[in-house]
Symmetry: C2
DNA sequence: CCATCTTTGTGCACGCGTTCACAAAGACAT
DNA sequence: ATGTCTTTGTGAACGCGTGCACAAAGATGG
């Protein structure tokens, strides 16, 4: 039933791998910086360093777009900026609605990176009548009742959900029903959407927990002689009374 | 030189795959919800549906932690909550500092999901002297000058960077020098960190661009007879004057 | 105690993504 | 025109992640 699918499974639209698509914005950012410094060309090695990836990976990524480099020279910065922008669809206008204007929603509305690349905040929507009409980031907040009308009038296809978890699925359903086919979800919930709708999630809590996992590993490495690596800069956190398997919780399985 | 590495390459600490670690918080969230409804046990099928993943994947994920299920019955909810929490390191206290108290930093400070699972906002730090002392989310903002002291006094090992892009690398360097070994980066920049330091990034702009890519694909599918899927609900966006390869940019490569 | 039924745990195969390593291609100097 | 030097583009191998499909394990009922 495709509930909560985040990365798309294997639809790979025209041959550009999903992993490559996810890196294109990174390259674009690095290239834009070079462009502003009027750098004419760049080698895969330099650009890869700027984007924080392997140079072979970068070359293979670009090879999916076509042969835009010149051997012995590198890539033309301006040309590549245009090609990647076009491939990502950033040469057109993407109206975006943000639903849920709390702390996070307001921060997103104020975020400059939005407007920079083809994205335009078409509307801010919140369920709180007290907010209706109040400007946030220069845009008046509209009430949830008008959600469908806003989506349709402005032909919005991308929605950002920044509501509490409890409201997210309902908002999502309404967005999709009104015609939104891409959703960026900040609410800590798994969203169910029909086929043909893309969902990407940004989950602060999950990221922190992943960091905590690795952090814990760095601290407690008593048992099992180290498998190499783990060189320096490890604060030796003294109170490591967290037995690797010792104590049992109050509750036991039947 | 390991610059800007996000997912760790292949260090796989004790056999738990990175992909599994990334899903554990998802399972934990679903299990916590079940726990609050006093559900005693859950099958892999049910839990997988709640977490939005394949049931076989979930079972394999759990198998890396050990054999915590009972065949014919399922998994004990409370026990699994504890085991996953322990594995993720959430049974201990993780002091976190947030650097950069702008719109986003303030939103993060107010985010409840922080405190819920072992994470504690130890300090808010900003370079603006005008902010120093002012409470945000009930915590007084401290000045960047005291960053090192705060990190060391509170034994902080996780830092959240919510500064503008220009300041991020510098803040990162100071955090790392002071002893932070895990960083969650919200600034749109590639961070360079020494080995042994984990960086995860949350980049709104990148997520939107990935969505735009797929959105563009949904709209313009003139050439190349569809490879199946893509059934309905596609707004037929009329003005598709974006030739798949036709027009050339103003700037051409040499 | 045995049969049946449910659900876990996992062997296996497949596909995607990454990386190495190198041949091909072009720039540039002589 | 020829040779050298740089850098791209990619074939091939490898490893990780995913999902199928099934045997093993235990619960449950007679």
């Amino acid at each position: 039933m495709a509930t909560g699918r985040t990365h798309r499974p294997a639809t790979r639209s025209r041959g550009i791998p999903e992993a490559t698509v996810a890196r294109l914005p990174l390259y674009l950012r690095a290239l834009t910086a070079l462009s502003e410094r009027s750098v004419p060309t760049v080698s895969s090695e330099e650009l890869a360093a700027a984007a924080g990836v392997n140079s072979a990976k970068l070359r293979k990524d670009f090879s999916y777009l076509g042969s835009y480099g010149t051997r012995g020279v590198g890539y033309d910065v301006e040309y590549l900026v245009y090609q990647i922008s076009r491939e990502l669809g950033l040469t057109q206008d993407w109206p975006v609605v943000i639903v849920g204007i709390g702390n996070l929603g307001a921060a997103l509305a104020n975020y400059g990176g939005f407007a920079s690349r083809g994205f335009r905040v078409a509307a801010l929507i919140d369920a709180d009548p007290g907010l209706t009409g109040k400007p946030v980031a220069g845009i008046p907040v509209q009430h949830t009742d008008d959600l469908e009308k806003i989506i349709k009038d402005d032909r919005v296809s991308i929605g950002v959900i920044a509501t509490p978890a409890g409201a997210a699925q309902q908002v999502c359903d309404r967005l999709v029903a009104a015609g939104v086919t891409s959703i960026l979800n900040f609410a800590p919930t798994v969203l169910s959407v029909p086929d043909g709708v893309d969902v990407r999630k940004v989950d602060l809590s999950i990221e922190l927990q992943i960091l905590a996992f690795h952090e814990q590993r760095k601290s407690g490495e008593e048992t099992a002689a180290g498998d190499g690596a783990l060189p320096a800069a490890v604060t030796p956190r003294d109170d490591a009374d967290q037995g690797p398997d010792g104590d049992v919780p109050a509750v036991m399985p039947a």
